[in-house]
Amino acid sequence: MSLDSNNKKHAGVWILAEQSKGRIGRIGHELLTRGRALADKLQTDLTAMVLGCDIPDDDLQGLIDRGADRVIAMEAPQLANFLVEPYSACTAALLDEYRPEIVIAGATSTGRTLMPYVAVKIHAGLTADCTELDIEPETNNLLQTRPAIGGNILATIKTPVHRPQMATVRPHSTRPADPQSGRSGEIIRLDAPPDLLTSRVKRVAFTPSTDEMSIQDAEVVVTAGRGIKRAENVAIVAELAEALGAALGATRDVVDRGWMSYPHQVGLSGKTVTPKLYVAVGLSGSIQHIAGMGTSEHIIAINSDPDAQIFQIAELGLVGDLFEIVPILTRKLREATSRTH
C-alpha cells in the first residue's frame, strides 16, 4: 500500500459494467454515458471492465457500440455472482496491470461493496454515490459531486494525489448510452488467475423478488410526501397513480413513518428515478429527495405551500390542498382517458 506504486503514470477512464446471469445490465450502459464524457474531456480512452463467466460476445460488443474503446472481461465460474474477495482481487490485479486514472462503478449492492474494499487494498480515494462527475480544467482531476449531510448540501470532492480516482455513481442518475453503428474497439477476454478466486463467502441460494412494478423501471412515477398526513391517505395518491398508469413512490418521511415500504422510497437514501413524468404530491422537495428524482424529464408538483422548494424544479405546479386537488384530478384524468379509448 505504498504511495510509490501509485505515482507511476496512470491514464484512461474505466467503468465497471456489471453483469447478472452473464448479461450486461443497464448500469454499465449508464456508466458509459458518464465515462465517455470524462474520457472525451481528458482526450483519453474509455475501458469497460467486466467480471463474470461466459459473457456473450454480443454483450461485450454492445459496450463498444455504446461508447467504450476497449472491453476487458475477466472470467471464471467463481465470478458468476458477486463475492467480495474474488471480485476485489481480480479488480485490484487489473487496475495494477492497466493503471487507469479514473474508475467508476454503479452505487449498487455490488459497487458499494466492491469499491470501498478495493480502494483500501490499493490505497485509492473513493467518493460514494456521486450525482455529477466532471474534470477540473487546470489539473485534470476528477471532480466528484454528491449530496452530503443528509442531502442538505452538495459537496464537490477530489482526490489530488492518489490514483486511480474512484467513484460510485447512483443508478438511474443518467440515461444509458445508446448503441451507435460503426463503432469498433478492442475486446480482451482474460481467464481469472485461480489464486485470485478464493472466497470465504459462499453463495448458497438466491430468491428473486416478486415485487410489484419497480419505481426505477416506470415511465411515470407518482410520489407521496408527508403532506398526506396518515397511512390511510396513501390510497388517495395510489388512485392518482393508477389513473396515470404510474408506479407509486414515497419520500423518506413517509417510509420512516411506516406508511409505505422501503422499495417505494425515492431520494438519496432510497432509489434514484429518471421517469418521463414525475408527479410530486404533498412533498416539499428536500435536496435529499431531489437528489433522487431531479433528472426526471417532466415534473408536476402539488403542494399547499407556494414557496415549497419542489416548485423550483417543477414545470407545472398546483398550489392548494392535495386532499381537494388529487381526487378531482384523478376523476378528470379517468374521464379524459376513457374519452380517448
Binding site: S109, T156, L277, L316
Partner: protein, 266 residues
C-alpha cells in the same frame, strides 16, 4: 463469541442548519445522536450474544471527539458489555479510507473478535464505505445489506438484500457484516442500562495507543478532499396554477390534462 459494533455519532440530520452568509454548517446547538442505522447493528449483536447464552460479549467502538463517549454510553445502556472511544485531534477530518484504517487498528487492539457488525451507513455522510473498508484493512470477508443472520462457531448464514432479490450467503468467521433495518427492532435503553453505562469505564484511545502510521491519519492522511460545499441550483421555470377552491381546481386539473396531452402522455 466476541462481537465488535463500530458506531458513529451524527448530528440529528433534520436539525442541521446552514449559515447562509458563510455557506457552512451550523453545528452549535445541534443534538448529537447515535447514527440511527447503527442501532440495528447494536440490536442484532445483542440478540446474537443473548441467543448463545454463554460468555459472549458485545463491544461498542466509536471514533470521534470526546463528546462521542455518549454514543458508546448509549450502546452500553442498550446492553453492550463494554465500549471504546478512539479520540485524538490527529484524526480530525478523516475520510472513509482513513476512518476505516483507524477503526481496523482499534479492532485489532480489542483483539480476539469473531464478528464485526456495522450499520448500513451513517445518516450524515451517507457513504456506507466504512464497513467494507474495515474488512479490507483486516483482510476479512464482508457481507453487506444483511437482513437476517444466524451464526455458529465457524460461520454465519446470511440473507443479503440485492436489487433483484435476496441472496443466501455462508460466511466464515471472523468476518464483517453490514446490516439493514429489516434485521431487527432496536430496543430502548433501560434505566438499569443507563446506570450501568454511567458506572462503566470507557477507555479513550489516542493515535499513540494504536498501531497506526501517522501519515494515514486525519485530513492529511485522507486520499479525498472536499473542495467545495454549496447549495444546489435547482431552478426550472414553473408555471404555478392556483388551486385554492373547487373552480380553481377544475381549471388547474384541465391545465394538467392539457400539459400531459401536449407532452403526449395522453
Amino acid at each position: 463469541m466476541r462481537i465488535v459494533v463500530p458506531i458513529k455519532q451524527v448530528p440529528e440530520t433534520s436539525a442541521v442548519k446552514m449559515d447562509s452568509e458563510t455557506g457552512t454548517m451550523v453545528r452549535d446547538g445541534v443534538e448529537a445522536i447515535v447514527n440511527p442505522l447503527d442501532l440495528y447493528a447494536i440490536e442484532v449483536a445483542l440478540e446474537l450474544r443473548d441467543a448463545r447464552g454463554d460468555d459472549s460479549e458485545v463491544i461498542a467502538l466509536t471514533m470521534g471527539p470526546p463528546a462521542a463517549r455518549k454514543a458508546v454510553g448509549e450502546a452500553i445502556s442498550m446492553g453492550a458489555n463494554s465500549g471504546v472511544l478512539v479520540s485524538d485531534k490527529a484524526l480530525a477530518g478523516a475520510d472513509t479510507w482513513s476512518t476505516s484504517y483507524v477503526l481496523a487498528a482499534a479492532i485489532r487492539k480489542i483483539g480476539d473478535f469473531d464478528l464485526i457488525v456495522c450499520g448500513e451507513r451513517a445518516t450524515d455522510g451517507d457513504t456506507g464505505q466504512v464497513g467494507p473498508g474495515i474488512a479490507a484493512f483486516l483482510d476479512l470477508p464482508v457481507a453487506t445489506y444483511i437482513s437476517k443472520i444466524q451464526c455458529d462457531d465457524r460461520s454465519c448464514l446470511l440473507d443479503r438484500l440485492v436489487e433483484d432479490g435476496c441472496e443466501q450467503l455462508e460466511m466464515e468467521i471472523p468476518g464483517v457484516v453490514t446490516v439493514v433495518k429489516a434485521i431487527a427492532s432496536p430496543r430502548l435503553p433501560t434505566l438499569g442500562g443507563k446506570q450501568r453505562a454511567r458506572r462503566t469505564d470507557i477507555p479513550v484511545w489516542g493515535a499513540a495507543d494504536l498501531d497506526v502510521d501517522s501519515e494515514n491519519l486525519g485530513l492529511s492522511g485522507s486520499p479525498t478532499r472536499v473542495v467545495k460545499i454549496f447549495r444546489p441550483q435547482v431552478a426550472r421555470e414553473c408555471e404555478k396554477l392556483p388551486a385554492g377552491d373547487e373552480d380553481a381546481i377544475e381549471t388547474a386539473a384541465d391545465g394538467v390534462i392539457e400539459f400531459l396531452t401536449n407532452k403526449e402522455f395522453m
